[in-house]
Symmetry: C2
DNA sequence: AATGCAAGTGCAAATCATTTGCAACAAGAA
DNA sequence: TTCTTGTTGCAAATGATTTGCACTTGCATT
């Protein structure tokens, strides 16, 4: 399944890329390079290969790279609809949001200032109701 | 002038802290630890002292720490009004915004989901009108 | 003003995420 | 199959930030 995708984006089909792609496509939330590396242990990928793969994917617009809660990069497949996820910084539970909550606001800023805003993150961090109780 | 501030927050008054404070208070935009270090060259501070100072300041809620455009931490004084800055990623020109553009949206998300959102960044990145023309 | 102790500091070394140089290797065009 | 070029592994480099340790300083207490 990943083969098509890779070819369409002008990338050679390799087992490393297929492995990374498969991990990403089965994850509902953005992952760190490290996490992807762990999930591909069976394929025996090298961590730097994972990084290089993710970077090619990003250039090819197959994945989106954002900055995670602790400054590490996190990667997720570029999906059609821009869905956003709330992530609890305590328990890592996640909740999907419909659409992009910041879309209108950003558009307004662009119109008022003439700036073109950088693509924003799809992961929004906070503390979930359960973890608030556990306080 | 910084002495009061430090004491009020239960921090010892040291020359390092006063120096960092003075650099921060005369900057309209958030700075990296490196930049602060450079600006305090005359005082001969050690870079790790700058980091430690900034971290104490953050714990004491004197400064706000955010993630800059290239993943480095950037620090700014915690000012009363939450003013936001647009920063051009090409020329680094900055534009102040009035108030917090994301306030209502975030509140809505909190109400809908029960999450308490993490404090968000005051630096918003994009490309300014001039740099767009220079394309 | 002298003293004592906890907190602050400099320095060098450690750490963490990420990148890079280089040699070996595999994908896909010819 | 062969050739060219992109891809990978490995180990070492990098850059931002942190930390261990010995020394110094702020400041509360004599």
């Amino acid at each position: 399944m990943g083969e098509e995708l890779l070819k369409n984006h002008g990338l050679k089909v390799t087992s490393a890329r297929l492995a990374v792609l498969s991990v990403l496509s089965s994850s509902p939330i953005p992952l760190t390079a490290e996490a992807i590396y762990e999930s591909t242990k069976k394929e025996g990928l090298n961590l730097s290969t994972v990084y290089r793969t993710l970077n090619s994917f990003e250039e090819a617009n197959i994945v989106k790279k954002e900055i995670g809660h602790n400054k590490e990069s996190i990667f997720s497949l570029e999906r059609e609809e821009d869905s956003h996820v709330l992530v609890c910084t305590k328990c890592h539970k996640t909740v999907k949001l419909e659409g992009c909550p910041y879309h209108e606001v950003n558009e307004a800023i662009e119109n008022e200032t003439g700036f073109v805003l950088e693509d924003h993150n799809t992961a929004i961090y906070g503390i979930c109701p359960d973890c608030q109780k556990k306080k």
